[in-house]
Amino acid sequence: MNFDIMLLLPELSLFVLAAALFTVSVTSPGDGAARRAYWLPWASLAVLAVCLGSLNARGVMFHGTYIVDGLSQIFKAAIAAGFLITSLFTPNARGVDDDKRADYLMFLAFSAWGLMLLSSAAELMTLYVAMEISSYSLYAVIPLRAQNKNAAEAGVKYIMFGAMATAVALFGYSYILAGQGTGFVSELAGMDWSFAGNPAAAIGLILFLCGVLFKLALFPFHFWAPDVYQGTGNETAAFAATLPKLGAAAVLVRLAALLAPNLEITFLLALFAAASMTLGNLAALAQKDLKRMLGYSGIAHSGYLVIGLAAGTAEGLGAMSFYAIVYLLMNMACFWVVCHLRCDGKNPVYDDLNGLSKNAPGLALVLAVSAFALVGLPPTAGFMGKLFLLTSAWNHGYAWLVIVAVINTALAIFYYLSLFRHAYTAETGGAVNLRDRNWMGTVAGTVMAAAILVLGALPGGLYRLALEAGTTLLP
């Protein structure tokens, strides 16, 4: 069985956190201050510290289904960081009733935990179970929005669509088992996946990937994203828009060994990516609601992520991991600003940004940095990430994909810079009612903006880590 508890420290620490939240939710009185769990940011900081400390852990456990390597540890650290940032603005979330707050936080913690397991899963069934853990937890929190029926509708859509996706994935898994005879990724890596060679397995893989692509919100499994983000609470949207994408990216990187560049599957993914980008960017142009717009932008970014997969090189995988982590930072920063725009917890629109540079210059600056990073302008990390992705795909037969990506970047400039335009140049209309921020949130916002800029200037260290992680996976 090969169980070594030292290799599991990140997961264990997060599980302990979730268990603590469970205890709070079960034991404390309904409206007690304890339910707000102000200790959560410090606890998640501790979890992040444990993850960073375990970056060099290596090992295989549970009969080869659970692998601890460079890739898994980087992603676990990223997920812990994402959870930390979320924990900074969720305790005061306006959109959640006080008596449900501890449960809300507990489910978020379990979702993150499931994502951590996902990044270490080395076998398809383990992978599926981990994905389900994280999805189910999210199903529970999506409808948790105070006094808002749209949230319930969003929740139902998410559950139904998700159920369909995972059913398809399970179906695909059965085909893979039939076609290749094993579920272990390491064994599947050397096998023939072409349609001519093994049609059942090829179709099985495509279907299995549908489940993963659902979490990633890649075309054509993206339809849920704009509605769900718009419907759910602001803070929940922040979590749901970023962290699952990280998990999905980790899975795709791990499965990349199966996807040789000239296979039909790979080409299919590339087509999906191109459609995703284009659809996401074009639709975002027409949006007024900020969260809906960010939902579409998330679809577009999923497309960018998958470019790294198409080329099939170690640089591509490294670029994909790098971009996933950078996307976490950019998107979280943007959501952080969005969440603080309204103190009543309603959905913010573009006009809510007017006059932000005068009323809250710090918020405006963080927004500007994250908007530029999402577009992909230098000197931000978003530019670096896109650069790595595009250069990895250019010389490997996917030049058309690169061109599509570049055109899409140009399209995206409009709506991202609208954020900037409203914040800096438009005058505010009536009274301003920004949500109050605690100092931890401000620190987090500043740190995120700084990290985006620093990684834009000095991407080397993180990229090298991601590259090393990616190289070991390819045969």
């Binding site: 139904m160 369909m164 549908c210 054509p220 339809f223 704009p226 000239n262 087509l271 999906f272 975002a284």
Partner: protein, 611 residues
């Protein structure tokens, strides 16, 4: 032995630091602290070992700040001693700017002496140039400002020649090392460097700046300037160009040229300036002839010259300070009220003339004998003639018309001379006398002697010079010197009515420089001015109108065509986006079916395309 000297022992450090510190030291204290850097320099120079230190890496080459060998030591020795004397002479000056300039100037001089590479040399060279210009400008009269400007321009030109030469040399050889140049293999860049050196050495025809600027410097500034610029140039010529025939000839020309002009000049300091040209001529000729004895003679002569020329300028400076003028036509009969100035001046005058028992005798005769023994008869004769002329104008004409010749006019006001000036002159006189009667003191410092490796491989007859060192005090040498001097004196007496100075300025080579400048202007200004007028016309009529017209057109094109296209496409894209957004119907069943259909559709497309 080659030990390395600490950079703290570099005399330039003391002077440059002192120069920076001057503004912060109150005047009363400054007066007494002034000679301190020079005293420290003397102690330091005495304790220096031969060797190289202060090597810095720069770009892809090395800079050497502190290269010490016998040649640099002999010059540094006298630089330091003269520094003490000149600073004592300047103690009474209240103007801090002058002190800063003179200290920086001396510091630059030391920097040049110990520079082991051309670039360091250039930097200190320019420091000297700027600082000495300040010494002229700080005299603050209209004439001084003009003279200082001309001086600076000319020295900058010389510096540029040197810079050009050294950069080309670096590009060709790959090193900046300041080493002797082979006389038979000098490249064009070596000639450029030599021109730069010759400007500072006041080699005819590049010398006109010296008699132009030195009379306009401050009283104390001229004492400094008489020593450092020209002798630094002599040092660098000795280091790099020993044995170059052209220097031998140029030097002898300088010897006689200087004394000829000095004979007909009126301004006492201008006379002394021309004598600098003349005496430096001895040194340059000695370097050019390039035997060990002449090079030693040139170094010894530099040593002695700094001392007695400083003393001469101090004497003339006292006259200027006290009587308010240096013009011989306006002076006269001053011996009654300035007897000490007269005595000290005469000590210097007989030194420069080469009278036995004074230091000129032990140095000048070495050079002349060296020239004669190298069978350069005409050069030696020229030098002897210059010796006659030197005594004539410096030793006889100047003091006669300044101190005697007229009756003393009691109504004439003479400013009292501060004690420090007398002290400085006394020290200078004592040293002139001491080094004259005890030549071993000086000879022990010479660059070519027993036990010291010769600094340049292009110097001839080294072994003869070491085995048969020059002995100045032989009966014949003394007799010959007295004969020349005595009969020159007789000649002066005979011509005393003819040699009377007239109030005039004698035009020198600056006439050619001005001519060159005018020619340059004429060649370039007329045609270029014409072209410029025509061009402005064209610009105004055709160019400007065309520009405005095309700007107009582009603006219209931009607004109508480009903006139209951009706005049009933007609207189009927006419209597409809006349409696409409508695909999100909000109905789950639509989503589910659309997802599956799209997946299958794209999947089929993918398979088809890959086939």
């Amino acid at each position: 032995m080659t030990a390395t000297n600490s950079l703290l022992a570099h005399p330039a450090v003391y002077f440059l630091l002192a120069s920076f510190a001057v503004p912060f030291i109150p005047g009363r204290l400054l007066k007494w602290l002034l000679p301190l850097p020079a005293i420290l320099a003397v102690l330091s120079v005495i304790g220096l070992d031969h060797g190289t230190s202060g090597v810095l890496g720069w770009v892809d080459t090395e800079l050497t700040l502190f290269r010490v060998d016998q040649l640099s030591i002999v010059f540094a020795h006298v630089f330091a001693i003269q520094g003490v004397i000149a600073l004592i002479f300047a103690m009474h000056i209240k103007d801090k700017g002058q002190h800063m300039a003179s200290l920086a100037y001396v510091g630059g001089g030391f920097g040049c002496l110990f520079a082991g590479d051309y670039l360091t040399l250039f930097v200190f060279w320019e420091i000297m140039s700027v600082a000495s210009t300040m010494l002229v400008w700080l005299n603050r009269s209209d004439r001084s400002v003009r003279a200082g400007f001309r001086y600076f321009m000319f020295h900058t030109l010389g510096g540029l020649f040197m810079l050009g030469g050294l950069l080309l040399r670096w590009a060709d050889l790959g090193t900046l090392a300041f080493t002797p140049v082979d006389p038979s293999g000098a490249m064009y860049y070596d000639w450029l460097i030599m021109i730069g050196f010759c400007v500072n050495a006041a080699v005819v025809p590049l010398h006109a700046w010296l008699p132009d600027a030195y009379p306009e410097a401050t009283v104390t500034g001229a004492v400094f300037m008489s020593a450092y610029t020209t002798k630094t140039a002599v040092y660098v010529l000795a280091r790099a160009f020993a044995g170059f025939e052209i220097l031998a000839i140029a030097g002898t020309v300088m010897c006689v040229y200087g004394v000829f002009y000095a004979t007909i000049e009126n301004n006492a300091r201008r006379i002394l300036g021309y004598h600098i040209v003349s005496q430096v001529g001895y040194m340059v000729a000695g370097i050019g002839i390039g035997t060990a004895m002449t090079v030693n003679g040139a170094s010894a002569h530099a040593y002695a010259h700094i001392l007695y020329k400083g003393l001469l300028f101090m004497g003339a400076g006292c006259l200027l300070y006290s009587a308010g003028t240096a013009k011989l036509t306006e002076l006269g009969g001053l011996v009654k009220r300035l007897p000490l100035v007269f005595i000290f001046y005469m000590v210097a005058a007989v030194s420069i003339s080469g009278m036995p028992f004074f230091n000129g005798f032990v140095s000048k005769t070495m050079t002349i004998t060296g020239a004669a023994e190298a069978h350069r008869t005409w050069l030696a004769l020229g030098m002897e003639l210059a010796a006659v002329g030197t005594f004539l104008s410096v030793g006889l004409k100047l003091p006669y018309f300044a101190f005697f010749s007229k009756n003393d006019n009691p109504a004439r006001e003479l400013k009292p001379i501060p004690m420090n000036m007398y002290v400085a002159m006394a020290i200078g006189s004592a040293l002139c006398f001491f080094t004259g009667v005890y030549p071993e003191f000086l000879y022990k410092l010479l660059p070519i002697q027993e036990g010291v490796s010769v600094y340049s491989p292009y110097i001839a007859h080294v072994t003869e010079a070491i085995e048969h060192p020059y002995v100045p005090y032989t009966t014949w040498h003394v007799l010959q010197a007295f004969m020349i001097l005595g009969f020159t004196g007789l000649g002066f007496w005979a011509m005393r009515k003819v040699v009377v100075p007239h109030a005039q300025r004698n035009v020198d080579f600056e006439w050619f420089y001005i001519l060159g400048g005018k020619a340059f202007l004429a060649i370039f200004s007329r045609p270029f001015a014409w072209i410029d007028t025509r061009w402005s016309e064209v610009y105004r009529t055709v160019g400007l109108r065309g520009l405005v017209g095309s700007a107009d057109g582009s603006a219209r094109f931009d607004r109508a065509a480009i903006d139209g296209v951009v706005d049009g496409t933007a609207k189009g894209v927006f419209g597409i986006g809006g349409a696409l957004a409508k695909l999100q119907t909000g109905r789950l069943q639509t989503y589910a079916s659309a997802a599956l259909l799209a997946a299958i559709g794209v999947g089929v497309l993918a398979f088809v395309l890959v086939k």
